[in-house]
Symmetry: C2
Subunit: 394 residues, 2 copies
């Protein structure tokens, strides 16, 4: 007889690319009693979640709700509903999440036109425009606002106007941006956008907030062929999340309680204050990283505040260092993905994890662990640089 022990995962400080730490209020909300997915008490929560998500996405889009899956389920919802066979889809690819978009669009039958850029650099908007111009009838332009694999912030503010000039819709991956930096769906004329619950939003993983413009919904309603995916078919899901309340699938009730509370916390803090907090902690972290003699990997001027890509110094064992941080300090930072495996660390300060005490912890822990591997470090320099950054920002 195998025995199964009581759960006792360690309490970690989560400074990787996500999940981030969860506020105790959100944990408590998850304990609210599970009710039916058509219960009037749950319907009220659904309505408020839609309103809260519209505030956070800065949109009036009617179709704004959390998909019942993790962030990539939001990606698949957008692509499966927007793409029909042989549609021309232009994808900016400068990291793992652009690759993912291109792969998923191809599987759904699209003719994918990749606009590649070096991992760690932005995709130049004029190259995206050239691709739109060269396409016969571009259906969709898809980009990643915050490339989680490299720490690059893609300029997206002008892409809506640009794509619409060529008759294309714009899809934006905001998985690592929503709740950390501005995501202005309406002002930027983004037609479809997806995110996740576990980074800037501050809930556990399990939901993918999405929003679709009226223009996107018209395209979806005019489909020639049904959506390939039954589970992600918006024409059915909108009848459950909309006034019809027609059963489609059983919503993850407890996860919706969690995101409701997390979104309430965001609205209480205020978007502006939240973005300022992320920027301030990021500036201090990055100053500390540099003062320690480490290098930031993403293109200067296009670095994400919520996720710093840091080059692994020569002679340092990546996996050993991350293991040491986890064991000794209960501190998680992220590894590099794909071609950047072993070459960078990814240090996230997102949502509830974006706190001054976490900046202090990770800088000190890195100093200690790098010293232990023989790197010469002026102990304390990082923290002094971080403190100075905070003081100058006042």
């Amino acid at each position: 007889m195998i025995s199964f022990p009581e759960l006792q995962p360690s309490a970690r400080v989560l400074l990787g690319p996500g999940p981030s730490n969860v506020h105790p209020r959100v944990m408590k909300a998850m304990l609210s009693p599970v009710v039916g997915h058509l219960d009037p008490d749950f319907v009220r929560v659904m309505e408020d979640i839609k309103k809260l998500l519209r505030i956070v996405f800065q949109t009036d889009n009617e179709i704004t709700f959390p998909v019942s899956g993790t962030g990539s389920a939001g990606m698949e919802t957008a692509l499966a509903n927007l793409i029909e066979d042989d549609d021309e889809v232009i994808v900016g690819v400068n990291g793992a999440f652009g690759e993912r978009l291109a792969d998923a669009a191809h599987r759904l039958g699209a003719k994918v036109c990749r606009v590649d850029a070096e991992w760690g650099r932005i995709v130049e908007p004029d190259r995206l425009e050239a691709a739109l111009r060269q396409a016969r009838r571009p259906k969709l332009l898809a980009v990643v606002q915050a490339e989680t694999s490299t720490g690059v912030y893609q300029p997206v503010e002008e892409l809506g106007v640009m794509a619409h000039r060529y008759g294309a819709l714009v899809l934006m991956d905001a998985v690592t941006s929503l709740g950390c930096v501005p995501v202005e769906i309406d002002r930027w004329q983004i037609d479809a956008c997806y995110s996740c619950s576990q980074k800037g939003i501050g809930a556990p993983p399990g939901l993918a907030p999405v929003t679709f413009s009226e223009r996107a919904m018209q395209t979806i309603r005019a489909r020639k062929r049904k959506c390939r995916s039954w589970y992600f078919d918006l024409s059915m899901i909108e009848r459950y999340w909309g006034p019809d309340r027609l059963y489609h699938h059983t919503a993850p009730i407890s996860m919706n309680y969690a995101i409701y509370e997390a979104l309430r916390i965001i609205v209480e803090e205020g978007l502006e204050a939240r973005f300022k907090r992320h920027a301030a902690n990021a500036a201090a972290l990055q100053a500390g990283i540099v003062a320690m003699g480490l290098e930031l990997a993403a293109q200067p001027g296009h670095r994400l505040p919520q996720l710093a890509a840091v080059r692994v110094p020569d002679g340092i064992d990546d996996a050993r260092l991350r293991g040491e941080l986890l064991r000794t300090f209960n501190l998680e930072i992220g590894a590099g993905l794909g071609p950047l495996k072993g070459k960078i660390w990814r240090i996230g300060l997102m949502g509830e994890s974006s706190r001054r005490e976490n900046v202090m912890l990770v800088l000190n822990a890195l100093e200690a662990a790098l010293s232990a591997q023989g790197m010469e470090i002026a102990r304390g320099a990082a923290l002094m640089a971080a403190d100075k950054t905070y003081n100058n920002a006042r």
Copy 2:
């Protein structure tokens, strides 16, 4: 400024078709600290969840894990991985969830051969065999073990041997059966099966346990074209849930804690004891229903123990009665779906909700609410019949 109130959903007794009530131990488990999806502490939980699911599915299948979505995400995972364009798929359709299978398979490019039966009756196995015989090259036979929309138990024990005779795989929907009645994947030679977390398993909704035989995995590994779905692609997901631990998507950590604890509770109770409990409470409920003068809707001899379909008597307002149960007794029972809307109620006694006190509650509440709508009922007869059934079973 809109204000968003603190969450306070009512505490309901959930006797609908799911979700069911959740054990306090499972709620507590969800509060375990969120860790990263590659954290060694989470990897240990993943390994134990696979072992626990193999016990519950009664299988040695290596590929056994919970999909990161609700029950229908399990359906889509199975279909999207098993089906390629123009594959012949035979689907038994005798209710809403057979319809769903046929619809989803069609969207994925299959040539769907429906074997229809009246809602409320089984699909006769010899008609399924006739369809297998007539197909040119049948790829898949798909059936629903417990048709949640009608309360019918489909005989499935022989389907594996039958389908294999014709070179087809068998897919079984066990959404409303797993944890309530035997689901013997290996003995019945079922090649793929999906379920959900929120019914017989007793966790909140949010995960879809699945299992795939080696024969199914060989078919999947030999695909000519990639799985249409990026999110549900088993060839990538198995590398995350398997020893490679290759990142695919961020698993819903807290939901996995919940299902771990729910599965532990099942193993502590024992499968045999659990099935007996479900059978005993079902027998008592059904005896009470009949004693009250109501009719069971599903085909005699093929009624699910965990979900009773009860005809709405003439002259009774379905929605008003269910509203009354919810308001006055905080008791949820289910409405009819599709053609059975307004014609049946669906009373579930699944997982944690399958308790003698709930049988007592729902019988008494139905008596009271039916009397209030003017139906003549011998008060107390239902409960006496239920008690007698319990006593006879001793």
